[in-house]
Amino acid sequence: MGKTIIEKILQNHSEQKVEPGKIVWIDIDIRTARDFGGPNVVKNLEKYYPDTEIPDKSNAFFTFDTVVPAKTIPYANSQQICRDFAKKHGLKVYDVNAGIGTHILMEKGFALPGKTLVGTDSHFNILGAVGAFGQGMGDQDIAFAFITGRNWFEVPETIKINLKGTFSYPTTGKDLVLYILRKIGSKGVLGKSVEYYGECLKDFSFSEVVTLSSMTTEMGGIIAYPHPNENVKDWLKEHTGETPEFIYADEDAKYLDEMEIDVSNLKPQIAAPPKPDNVFDVEKLKGQKVDSVFVGSCTNGRIEDMRLVADIIKGKKIADDVMLRVVPTTSEVYGQMLSEGLIKVLYNAGAVVSNPGCGGCANGQIGMTGKGEVQISTGNRNFTGKQGYGDTYLASPVTAARAALKGSL
């Protein structure tokens, strides 16, 4: 019987026979921890594995991305605990200047098709964009993986989603993923793996593929594999110097379910508070006032997203009383923005541009919202209180940039 993508990847990393629903032990290629969760990983390692060498050191490291640089003493202490441990054990740290861990794994060529990677970040499934298996985990799981190089997994069943039809600008990958959330909800693929197929994926930028993969978390899914297009293959080749070898599902692979979602001429979508699946056509909320706009996050902070925003605001000014805050995903993206002149465009329009990191999503460096504040965010979650007491709407970089200019939707 044929296998789905996740089944093949897990089978390549297990001595046991991989079947959906079965619990198997998987070898993990790359183990990471970030500044959220990292100190507890260290604590667990020191408690349960005192004086134990970390094996396979070149494939275990720390990535700081949530509160960078540390804005309070407790955060500074947390990061220093990780740094000291890393130094003692000879592990690499991608420090506060680097950017979001998952994106660094892709840029540095650690996340490649077929690889298995874990970290203390629930959006590790972003790595499905490059055909890898990424799993976010808690600090006990990660500590265990640091030492043993493996962990247990319940092999997820796979749902195949066929996207029918095409759409074009101003509708983007973010609008597509919000629309899928609208259709299937926050538990739509709970505990499942997803494979996406469809004509609309062919022209997606690398960033749009990342966006689509990343919001699998908000659908309750384990991971999603958008069928890889030329842009993704080119991006990987550019970053690694090698032609990527993607793993594809067998023709006779067995799916739990097969869905078709019609996305023909899809219009821009927006998730209203308090949940990512509370989605409407942007049109329907026309006139909604906006106080602040956040562009960034692991979902929408890559160079393609920044270009979309800069194209819209170039030569214009952000509306009075609106604050536009921009956070590139990684140092690489920041560098591209500098060399392409995007930071100047943003500066001239009146935006705040910060160093790379998680930005608005993680009690981070770009600020929180106050009670009554209405924020448009290109991030992935708008749960009550997550980014402060204001109301957060999730939208594409295009919708966000337009709202920043207009002061309303």
Binding site: M137, G138, D141, F144, G220, A362, N363, F383
Partner: protein, 172 residues
Amino acid sequence: MQKDVILNGRIWLITNDKGELINDIDTDMIFHNQYLTITDLDEMGQYTFDNLEGWKDFADKALKDDIIVVGDNFGAGSSRQQAVDCFKSLAVQAIIAKSFGAIYKRNAINSGLPILVLDSIDLNNIENREMVEFDLENGETDHNAINIEPFSKVQMDIYQAGNLFAYGKNIK
């Protein structure tokens, strides 16, 4: 020594103002990201549900060995272990949900905190603070308004070992 597979505890039905079990309680409602620098288990309990409307005083009300009952997709959101550990800190004995977020499920199983999937519940015939007995092995209860699914094998093995680390040492 084998741990007891029968749990007895007073239940908290985590309901909204309509009396329904709350769905999609995410990790920022359970343990908000502003407290993530806390690594000491004893300090975590006080912030449990501190961002969950209607239940912000839960930490004051919860007693040792209580069992909480929630809706679908409990623990959606981030990978933070503290969202599990805060209940251990309060000595909450078990969490029963219609379904769990995937990472939350791993974190709870790995730390040996019993989590159980609700098979059915009749909210008209069960009340807060009732004492209920749950059998982790066969899924039986002593209350006809609530039914659960038994532990999976890996869950029972890790629970009996204490946590993932102890379990991992046994299987090598």
